[in-house]
């Protein structure tokens, strides 16, 4: 039995209107696929500040600590006196700290991107190739046993080029 309804739109405004109407009608499990990022669709889905930022902050702080620890730790493990200067010399070690801050900040942002976005997702999911070109696709996950007619009507009346029922993971 089909548990998803998919609508394909030619126009962004009609697609957004359909998504908003579905949302207002209580359909929470919406997947919106677009060829370009659209901020209005983020609003419809209630996406605010991304949690990626927490990963970046954590990575940068960890990098700073690791950078300083690396420079100080290795200087203490292998003592290399230079011209009577202190063994732990902060100014040059700040350069290492700075680089490590950025390095781990970047790597943790990358990690955070994967965690938050749910990618990689190589398993088969509902997808229309056209939504990577010039079409706007929405998929409503109705759950088991729900009547798809109302959702279909909303999508069709909003101006969808194509409406279909599909089984699978949205």
């Amino acid at each position: 039995m089909a548990n998803n309804v998919m609508g394909v739109f030619q126009y962004e405004d009609e697609f957004l209107a359909a998504a908003q109407q579905l949302r207002d009608s209580g359909y929470d499990k919406l997947t919106l696929m677009t060829p370009i990022p659209i901020h209005a669709s983020e609003k419809i889905q209630g996406l605010g500040k991304s949690n990626v930022r927490r990963f970046t902050l954590f990575g940068a702080l960890l990098g700073a600590v690791c950078g300083m620890a690396l420079a100080v730790g290795t200087a203490l493990v292998y003592i290399l006196p230079t011209g009577g200067r202190p063994i732990i010399t902060i100014p040059p070690y700040l350069v290492i700290t700075y680089e490590m801050t950025i390095l781990l900040g970047i790597l943790f942002t990358l990690f955070g991107f994967h965690i938050v976005s749910g990618l990689p997702a190589w398993n088969d999911k509902i997808y229309r190739i056209e939504s990577g070109v010039d079409r706007f696709t929405l998929v409503v996950d109705l759950g088991d046993g729900a009547d798809p007619v109302q959702a279909e009507n909303i999508i069709r009346e909003s101006g969808a080029e194509e409406v279909s029922r599909l089984e699978g993971d949205a």
């Binding site: 126009y11 990022p37 290795t74 070690y93 680089e99 990358l110 749910g118 997702a121």
Partner: protein, 444 residues
């Protein structure tokens, strides 16, 4: 001039996919030629050097550093505009960035790889190069993190990693587009490359945030990288190198040569990949204006360097300056001034700024000037330090000259491989600059 007709969304996909999916004999001939030159002019002489020893290069007792390091600085510098400019323009939401940034970032990446190769060539016994990395070993030895060379390793490694992540993440939606346009093995590969991207709102939202953070982190990183490269020189006490102005001088020079490099690459991909509809006069004009600004800053810093040395009154520094201005390498110095100060003045006229061929020539001359600048920094300072009886001389050997030529072939090879694997114009970002697909706007 023909009136500009903006492409549709489908046109963008088709035009960019064509550069990846259709490969003609010209491409293979160019790639084959480039690989041949890279092997014969870079790797064969390098193997020869490994065989007979570093003495085959022109470096000597007073001139411990030579063209390998000046090439290293040049390539690091060339890498500077791609990622940096892309990041700055992303943060400032400049739409004109979108058609050109991908190839500019690729330039960054491959310039860095070429630069890293020069370090390998320079160190002589390349099989010990891992000693600079903080790897536990049975001797209990660790790198000296007070040394600018250790800073350099950290900075360049971080920059290489960050630039790779930056270009890859920006390309993920476009990898999905390649996946959707291909079949068989290529489709399977691009499914992996694209992480199964579908363009859902959550994916775009997360990518947008992550990409902005990458950009924010990459900007200070790029500035730090060339500052640190400058400290390799400026933290010494050698006359001609010991300048506090070196960090901004190097960073400015790097962005300058990188921007000129973008103009060169932009001209080539526009012409040979038929991207006339995407890479347009506005890009050329904006980059030309940027080059004028950078040229002015670069010239100002050069004047300051001369003035400070003269006004400082240090006899060794003045002697080094005099030799730079009037000695054996003076023609190279004045060639650099001509290429990097006077030639860019041509861009004050709109006619030149809008002429693709003129801009190509200017961009090549700027980079010739910048290559010379880096050579002069190394070749006129180290051989002539404090005591005249210890003065030496450095002139690159034939092996160094051939390896320098080979490095350009390595860069070209990597770039040619890139344009067949990664969309060289960002598909989704170009679409963002087009008229939105709205029924209200389409008059229906």
């Amino acid at each position: 001039m023909a009136e500009y007709s903006p492409p549709s969304y489908a046109d963008v996909n088709r035009d960019v996919m064509r550069t990846i999916l259709e490969t003609g004999p010209k491409y293979w001939m160019l790639l084959g030629g480039s690989v041949l030159v890279a092997v014969t002019c870079f790797f064969v002489p390098w193997i020869h050097q490994l065989n007979v020893g570093i003495g085959t290069a022109g470096m000597n007792r007073s001139a411990m550093w030579g063209s390998y390091l000046s090439n290293f600085i040049f390539w690091i510098g060339l890498s500077h505009s791609g990622t940096l400019l892309s990041a700055v323009l992303h943060i400032t939401q400049s739409d004109w960035r979108k058609a050109i940034y991908r190839s500019a970032e690729a330039m960054t990446l491959f310039s860095l790889v070429t630069a890293a190769l020069f370090v390998m060539v320079h160190v002589g016994r390349v099989w010990f190069v891992h000693w600079i990395a903080p790897i536990p070993n049975q001797m209990g030895l660790w790198p000296n993190f007070r040394s600018p060379l250790s800073f350099d390793v950290m900075a360049v490694t971080t920059y290489l990693t960050a630039s790779s992540v930056f270009i890859y993440m920006g390309s993920v939606p476009d990898f999905a587009a390649v996946r959707d346009s291909s079949t068989g093995m290529r489709r399977r590969l691009y499914t992996i490359f694209s992480f199964g991207w579908r363009g859902t709102t959550r994916e775009w939202h997360t990518l947008g945030w992550a990409y902005t953070f990458f950009a924010v982190l990459v900007i200070p990183l790029a500035v730090s990288v060339h500052s640190i490269v400058s400290w390799d020189f400026a933290l010494s006490i050698i006359p001609g190198l010991h300048h506090t102005i070196f960090a901004p001088y190097f960073v400015c020079g790097a962005i300058y040569s990188g921007t000129a490099g973008i103009v060169t690459v932009m001209f080539l991909i526009r012409k040979y990949l038929n991207f006339e509809r995407y890479i347009r006069q506005i890009h050329l004009d904006n980059l030309a204006k940027l080059l004028i600004v950078l040229s002015s800053i670069w010239t100002y810093i050069n004047i300051m360097e001369l003035f400070n040395t003269w006004y400082g009154g240090n006899s060794e520094a003045i002697e080094a300056l005099n030799w730079r201005l009037t000695g054996f390498y003076a023609p190279l110095f004045w060639e650099m001034i001509l290429c990097c100060t006077f030639v860019p003045m041509l861009m004050w006229t709109k006619k030149i700024r809008h002429n693709w061929k003129a801009m190509l020539i200017i961009s090549l001359l700027i980079n010739l000037g910048m290559l010379t600048e880096r050579f002069i920094i190394v070749a006129t300072s180290l051989p002539r330090k404090f005591l005249p009886d210890a003065y030496g001389f450095y002139f690159p050997s034939i092996v160094e000259i051939i390896i320098t030529i080979g490095s350009f072939a390595i860069f070209t090879t990597l770039f040619l491989i890139f344009i067949k694997w990664v969309p060289s114009v960002s598909i989704y970002e170009v679409k963002e600059t087009l008229k939105p697909l709205r029924r209200a706007d389409n008059g229906e």
